[in-house]
Symmetry: C2
Amino acid sequence: MKIVIDAMGGDNAPVATVGGAVEAVKSYNTNIILTGNEPMIKKQLEKYDYVKEKIEIIHCNEEITNEDKPVSAIRKKKDSSMVKALELVKEKKADAVVSAGNTGALLAGGLLVLGRIKGIDRPALAPVYPTVRGASVLIDGGANPDCKPRNFLEFGIMGSIYAKEVLGIKNPSVCIINIGMEEEKGNEVVKEAYRLCKTGPFDFKGNMEARDIPGGYADVMICDGFTGNVILKLTEGLADSIFKLLKEEFVKNTFRKMGALLLKSGLGDLKKRFDYTEHGGAPFLGVKGVLIKAHGSSDAKAIKNAVRQGIKFIENNVLDNITGKLSV
Amino acid sequence: MKIVIDAMGGDNAPVATVGGAVEAVKSYNTNIILTGNEPMIKKQLEKYDYVKEKIEIIHCNEEITNEDKPVSAIRKKKDSSMVKALELVKEKKADAVVSAGNTGALLAGGLLVLGRIKGIDRPALAPVYPTVRGASVLIDGGANPDCKPRNFLEFGIMGSIYAKEVLGIKNPSVCIINIGMEEEKGNEVVKEAYRLCKTGPFDFKGNMEARDIPGGYADVMICDGFTGNVILKLTEGLADSIFKLLKEEFVKNTFRKMGALLLKSGLGDLKKRFDYTEHGGAPFLGVKGVLIKAHGSSDAKAIKNAVRQGIKFIENNVLDNITGKLSV
């Protein structure tokens, strides 16, 4: 198996991407291709001891930044680490691509370079959302700010296959995130989506409220990309704020400081449960190829976990499963 | 000043509503009218010592429940505590109404009984969102699942007047909650809303991401009612889950138990910051009358705080200010 990592993508590239590549080689015995600036990548690789033939470098002269406009960046920067990485998958020279780069550009690249699976109108991001019960899939996590009702049906199909094959959830339940439980609740798109999902080829449990997201009410939570993005970012911001405020409260006097010391490991365990790096990245489901979007601020561990996700994706034939389900 | 409380509205009615009425009389020296089942209300009132002439009861034979369909409930249950309360404001026999009852019915009642302020296409719920910096106004908190771009402009106008007059924020900043900071980000409605808000009669700061909501990035956060409802409920659910998980971590061994004991007051202080009952209810802005929606699970303290909100609303002429701003 061969995974290509966009070595120049993300806030901590190429330190994190190269470090993640080495960790992945060691943990999963996989082959890695790194696309990007060869001298910079080599300089990082020198820091590590690893099986040399497991990591290949493909040099690129360009780089897509967060300031680039997605579609034009993909069209114009043909010699960028991101476009090269996608082309390697397209040409079947690699089995999956991992990138922590510009999200918009990566999604545009997925569509323009890899193309959509037949029957899928809108590919979508499917991040794993950590819950009290374990983990759920949120789809769409931000690829499509405007959705049609039929997109929800596609999200349900793709999300449930992913939850089953990659997260190992048997017969995953699917819910629409809505502002009430009843069928007639919500905006016009969501109401029509409900009617379509009732006959969808998955275990549709109806609507759920945002209050029940952290509790793990459904294994697959479907929504438009605007709502999904708000959910992910609010979760991040709120967890940060609560831990920050906890810290403030915990140093207000000596008793509390002592208490906080005794609880340090407990807080650490809890923070870990909300740590996105544990879950790797979010696959872009619905494109013809395995494409994992890692968080922009990924460290080496997060990149390694994104590679693991790609491997699981391939081993469990998620793409074939989606294609098969759509042709029924 | 006279505030009418829908005594039968909410999960804890009439215990909480009557208790809140008595507390409000004592704290704010206001006059209260309670609409609802007179024998039940009287039985609750007997528990308290208060100035009798400050609380009046208007008996009603009906009650609107959470199972009722909003519009038909308002149309058919003319002798319900909610409709009666709204009519008292309409007839200028009371200055404001507080209800913890069926949200949909209350919003429908606001529109059907009180009517819209001229120039307002869609009245909206404007709850206070507790932040690290203090408090912001979120509008729309759930009244309008589908919005047009011009509604965002109205939300900005009403929200900034409310933030200024009731929360006492000088020159409040207004942001659109979006999936990116740049002007061209978001769904179609939000993009057009941005263009309209740029020339709005308020301090428009552009877009903000959901990640920055808990930090208090803007004083007034505008969004459609679907997004607003998701934000409020996710915040509630996530805070609950984190505190629950903290508790679990904190009893895992004796050291942690001791630590938790030392931190008890700190955790209590923090929980209080996320406690909606501290902020009372959410006004329904844009209707011709002062209408405060209290949380369905309000206790007496929350009802009292909702009354305080109504009083501030009246004292600061929020309605006249909104009407004035719209006729410019």
